[in-house]
């Protein structure tokens, strides 16, 4: 099976700062892959390579090769790329629009305006993130009225509406309480049937709970990458072991 994401000899510079150093990895489809590491290790930066969000920052230079399902990333139209590689942010960021308009935002910007398609998509997307029953009568309310957990689910629903293949999640639970976190983690387990999920987290327990594969990053390097159980029980690199056993980070 083709890997969902691959990076070869990936280097990234913010001006003079070498933020990612020779990263090589392959992320399997329809699995949850976690990227862990201390703050500033480059895990979010790496995540943002895959939907080219780093390019919003002036002075970023990226070298190396990234492939999405076997296609070279830079040859894919930027807007198409971001459509198929969606991102969930640390702070839930629903737009200050109605719940309905939020869900179908992606469809609208990609030129779909048929009401029955939009309605159908709103239904299926909200259902698959478990919001439909709670919100079906409140679709015209402002999305900012929702709770943090509901907002984050709504942000995931926006990606599902777009039929993204890959969901990049940048610390999706760090603004949520433990109960909401557990429920979002449950949702991730449901979603991996159909989606490739890459999650960045500074919470090692979370990585151990949800992911099947795991990468440990330190100072811009991908130190170790592999099966989560193995990384947490028998890391092959001393630095990984030190981090996991809590010696720093």
């Amino acid at each position: 099976m083709t890997n969902a994401l691959t990076a070869k000899k990936l280097d990234l510079y913010y001006g003079d700062f070498h933020a990612l150093k020779n990263v090589n990895l392959a992320i399997a489809p329809k699995k949850i892959t976690a990227l862990i590491g201390p703050s500033g290790c480059g895990k979010s930066t790496l995540l943002r390579v895959f939907n080219r969000m780093n390019e919003l920052i002036a002075g970023v230079k990226i070298t190396g090769e990234v492939k999405i399902f076997g296609r070279t990333m830079n040859k894919i139209n930027l807007l198409e790329l971001r459509k198929s590689v969606g991102m969930v942010f640390q702070r839930p960021n629903p737009f200050p629009l109605t719940i309905y308009d939020n869900v179908i935002y992606g469809l609208r910007i990609h030129g779909i305006s048929k009401k029955d398609i939009l309605d159908e998509t709103a239904f299926t997307s909200l259902t698959s993130v478990g919001l439909w029953n709670d919100l079906k009568d409140r679709l015209k309310e402002n999305a900012l009225k929702l709770s943090g957990e509901q907002q984050q689910r709504l942000c995931i629903a926006r990606l599902i509406a777009l039929k993204s293949d890959i969901l990049l999640m940048d610390e999706p639970c760090s603004a949520l309480d433990p109960i909401a976190t557990a429920r979002i983690e449950e949702l991730m387990q449901d979603l991996k049937e159909n989606y490739t999920i890459v999650i960045v987290t500074h919470n090692m327990q979370q990585a151990a709970r949800v992911s099947e594969e795991c990468g440990f990053m330190l100072l811009g390097e991908l130190v170790e990458f592999g099966n989560t159980d193995r990384i947490f029980t028998a890391p092959s690199d001393k630095r990984t072991e030190d981090y996991i056993t809590g010696r720093y980070g």
Binding site: N51, M53, L56, L78, L79, E80, L81, R82, K83, G86, M87, F89, R91, N93, P94, F95, P96, L97, Y105, G106, R108, I109, H110, L144, C155, R158, L159, L162
Partner: protein, 278 residues
């Protein structure tokens, strides 16, 4: 020591409010009797302004003010909001740093200069190419549109910059273009702030006097189209104050009362919008 300072500050605060209150009171005291005398409906909706015969109908001036203000907004708001969007979202930093202060400088030009330019340059163009007397609603609207630009641009830029960056990121990450992001997320989010700017600009347009006297033609009739001359509420006071006595003088104060309500209403709406959170 602290007590004395706080007493002094209290005095300053109360006296400045008191001065404003007294001025308002004075205007009302001077203006309200004539409104009562000629009947409020007659005063507001009467078409005849013949002060020497004791006919005080200010409807033509209300219409004049509304036309000129509406014209200024129709011309100025799209221009101002587009300019703000460009400076806040699209322009290179370098350009924004030059253009924003330049637009703010526009606010520093005295209104008599705007009026003079309108009379010397704009009115003849309108007269030659579009007909009519030249000194007209259209001319006044054009000049006012430029005069309210600094307010609209300035407030709109602040409103756009206050939109959380996460909205923009979220939209771009869904594959939206910059323009789609601005149109569908940033402008709706900044809407209340932009509206507040528009209303402040509107207040300025309604209250502007000098430039309007110079280029609106000051005819005391109800206009038929954009090329007719009109007189505004503000112009009415300024033009006739030199020789008004008795009821006539009171009628001018009453015009002031109407203006007072106009502008207070606009400011209250602006305040309401600017306080609303997204």
């Amino acid at each position: 020591m602290d007590k004395i300072i706080s007493k002094l500050l209290f005095l300053a605060a109360t006296s400045s409010t008191a001065i404003l209150a007294l001025i308002a009171l004075f205007i009302f005291k001077e203006g309200v009797p004539i409104m009562a005398k000629s009947g409020l409906a007659h005063f507001l909706f009467g078409n005849e302004w013949r002060p020497l015969q004791g006919m005080f109908g200010i409807f033509p001036f209300i219409v004049g003010s509304l036309w000129i203000t509406a014209g200024a907004l129709i011309l100025g708001v799209p221009l101002g909001v587009c300019c703000a969007v460009y400076l806040a979202e699209f322009s290179p930093k370098k350009w924004a740093n030059i253009l924003k202060p330049a637009i703010e400088l526009l606010a520093g030009i005295p209104s008599v200069v705007y009026g003079f330019m309108g009379v010397m340059w704009l009115a003849p163009i309108i007269r030659t190419h579009l007909g009519g007397p030249g000194l007209s609603i259209l001319a006044a609207s054009c000049v006012l549109a430029i005069m309210i630009l600094p307010t609209i641009v300035g407030v709109s830029i602040d409103a756009i910059n206050a939109v959380p960056k996460s909205y923009k990121e979220g939209s771009l990450a869904l594959g939206a273009t910059e323009w789609q992001t601005v149109w569908r997320v940033i402008l709706p989010a900044a809407r209340s702030g932009i509206l507040a700017g528009v209303i402040l600009g509107m207040g300025r347009a309604v209250g502007e006097t000098m430039a309007v006297i110079m280029i609106s033609g000051n005819a005391t009739i109800i206009p038929n189209n954009m090329l007719d001359s009109v007189r505004t509420l503000t112009a009415n006071i300024a033009i006739e104050m030199g020789y008004a006595i008795g009821d006539h003088r009171q009628a001018l104060f009453a015009t002031g009362v109407v203006l007072f309500f106009f502008i207070m209403g606009l400011n209250m709406i602006a305040l309401k919008f600017s306080r609303r959170k997204f």
